[in-house]
């Protein structure tokens, strides 16, 4: 089932991405291409194959619980679009159903 325009706009909204009218078409084609590929994969007969079969060897490495401080926090705060003292400053949080602000206004 190919992705329609509404679906593109919904995905964009969830990711807080601004998608213009002209971008919808190409995005739709692109995402549908990916989904078609997955449809082909889904047709493969994988009966009896462990979904993790190829991952077992690359098993997770566990880190010891040791604390170390990072020296770069000032640099990060400095590069933030907005800071206030020790805090990152962000636009006010939207209440549900409130009007969406455009990406430019969010800065």
């Amino acid at each position: 089932m190919p992705i329609g325009k509404d679906e593109i706009l919904r995905i964009a909204r969830l990711g807080r991405l601004f998608v213009s009218e002209e971008e919808v078409g190409p995005l739709q084609r692109h995402l549908n291409g990916i989904l078609e590929h997955f449809e082909r994969l889904k047709r493969l007969d994988l009966e009896g194959i462990d979904p993790f079969a190829l991952e077992e060897e690359a098993t997770g490495f566990l880190r010891e619980d040791a604390v170390s401080a990072w020296a770069g926090r000032e640099e990060v705060l400095q590069q933030a679009p907005n800071r206030e003292g020790d805090f990152f400053r962000v636009p006010r949080i939207l209440e549900e159903n409130e009007e969406e602000v455009s990406p430019d206004e969010r800065r």
Binding site: G15, R63, D65, A69, W70, I93
Partner: protein, 488 residues
């Protein structure tokens, strides 16, 4: 089948684990009171090109909790990304576990003995905590903020989310469940379980069954910061839903916030998209594969579970359920009590004194038993004197104060209790003994006719003399004089 109009409650509990570092990076988890955005690094700030690495201790703690709950531990589980857009989440996704959680099944007992109920656990999984938002509006209200300030110190702190089956029937059962779980994580040493500080957070799902006992619409209630708040919020919510249904209205599936000051739950308007988290396996993290040895090692490290300990206290020390509950609420208190027993203390007397005197001092000083200066050895020295009658209860309470304040042994406290000149000895003491015996002629007669095989009556007389002397006599001397007179 359930009856109509019955509350059905399920809980989701987030427990912050007491690791030193965060779940996926080496930043400190010690965020309370820390300068904002100091415990941060490229990993927990979600900077591009970084890779998360799982903290072994967090996995150990979660596995240990799962084992204590009797859950099945998954030897191969995975991490998913839970996507949502909110400034407390710098990556715009939270690393969590989705379809293959670390532990599945299990149960937690609530209620006492005869009406014990085992509430089933659905699952337990690992995830990272989010940062904290500070709102800048003058009245502090979210809706009126001009902007928000973000502190990522808490972001990435390891959490385990524990989900119960919807098997709790009343607000008080829900409260009991949370308090038993809190007790458990404290006994396991995996979390401080402090609801006020937010290291244990509870969300509740609640619905009322319909006319045929079928499940009704679920409402999620959040923002309850104490056991009391949880109970009140659920009571309010049950009444609200009953009223709603009584008026013939439908219950809206929504998330409601508990307002502790007003004592009401408030709906957060329309959230139809809020639950579209678009989970997918986190490609940055390989599956979490644990060996059987790893799991068995955690099983070996399990302490005696609090509900077993409580039953043992009742059985072995003949404590009431209430005494045993109080003594096993915190692992430190239970340990202190057990040390007293090993020192030879009378189990009932020790239980009583810890429940009343020791816990009163802890409350007054606002300290935990771990910070309590008086060792069980010294404390038992005092209990032993009460036992032999060498020290009266009244005097013992005075001595206890001194012992606690200056960390003294009972002998040191006795010495300090009066100046040496005030010491009652020799002829003065002999007079005092005679005075007491005069009053207690019946007891004297009983002792002299051999009705004191265990020496309890003798101890009783000794205690009376000690009380008469306000503790200024030497119990050994009192016993000697008593013997001289009684065995004459």
């Amino acid at each position: 089948m359930r009856k109509p109009n019955t509350p059905v409650i399920g809980l989701e509990i987030h427990v912050q684990m007491k690791t030193g570092s965060k779940l996926f990076c080496a930043c400190s988890t010690d965020y309370i009171g820390a300068v904002p955005n100091t415990n941060v690094c490229p990993v927990c700030l979600g900077l591009p090109g970084t890779l998360p690495v799982v903290n072994r201790k967090a996995v150990e703690y979660a596995v240990r909790t799962g084992l204590a709950l009797g859950s099945r531990i998954g030897l191969s589980t995975r991490f998913h990304r839970k996507n949502y857009f909110y400034p407390d989440l710098p990556k715009a996704y939270q690393i969590s576990q989705y379809d293959v959680p670390l532990a599945v099944g299990g149960h937690l007992p609530i209620g006492e003995e005869q009406d014990r109920k085992w509430i089933r656990i659905t699952r337990l999984h690992l995830e990272e905590d989010a940062g904290k938002l500070v709102h800048s509006a003058r009245d502090g209200r979210l809706g009126n903020s001009e902007y928000s300030l973000v502190d990522y110190n808490r972001g990435g702190v390891p959490l385990m989310e524990i989900v119960s089956e919807p098997e709790l029937a009343t607000p008080s059962e829900a409260r009991d469940f949370v308090s038993r779980l809190r007790q458990l994580v404290r006994f396991l040493g995996v979390s401080d379980g402090d609801m006020e500080k937010g290291s244990l957070r509870v969300d509740a799902n609640i619905s009322l069954t319909g006319p045929d006992g079928e499940l009704g619409t679920k409402v999620e209630v959040k923002n309850m910061n104490s056991l009391r708040a949880l109970e009140r919020a659920l009571e309010y919510e049950i009444a609200r839903q009953q009223e709603c249904l009584g008026r013939g209205e439908r219950i809206l599936q929504e998330t409601r916030h508990w307002d502790d000051g007003k004592g009401v739950t408030c709906g957060t308007r329309g959230k139809e998209e809020a639950h579209d988290y678009r989970y997918f396996p986190d490609p940055d993290l390989p599956p979490l594969v644990l060996s059987r040895d790893f799991v068995e090692e955690q099983r070996r490290l399990l302490p005696e579970l609090p509900w077993d300990l409580k039953e043992r206290f009742v059985r072995e020390h003949r404590l009431s359920i209430e005494d045993a509950s109080v003594l096993t609420e915190l692992p430190g208190i239970a340990k202190y009590y057990e040390k007293c027993i090993r020192e030879g203390a009378n189990p009932l007397r020790a239980a009583n004194w810890i429940r009343t005197e020791v816990m009163r001092v802890l409350n007054e000083k606002r300290i935990s038993i771990e910070a309590f200066a008086l060792s069980p050895e010294k404390f038992c020295g005092l209990l032993a004197r009460i036992e032999t009658g060498a020290v009266s209860t009244t005097l013992a309470k005075e001595l206890f104060e001194k012992m606690v304040d200056e960390n003294l042994s009972v002998d040191e406290a006795l010495k300090k209790a009066g100046s040496p000149s005030g010491k009652v000895t020799g002829d003065d003491l002999r007079k005092m003994v005679n005075l007491v015996l005069e009053r207690e002629r019946l007891t004297v007669e009983e002792i002299q006719t051999g009705k004191d095989a265990k020496g309890k009556k003798r101890s009783f007389l000794c205690g009376l003399v000690m009380r008469e002397s306000k503790g200024q006599a030497d119990p050994g001397e009192v016993r000697k004089i008593l013997a001289e007179i009684l065995d004459r």
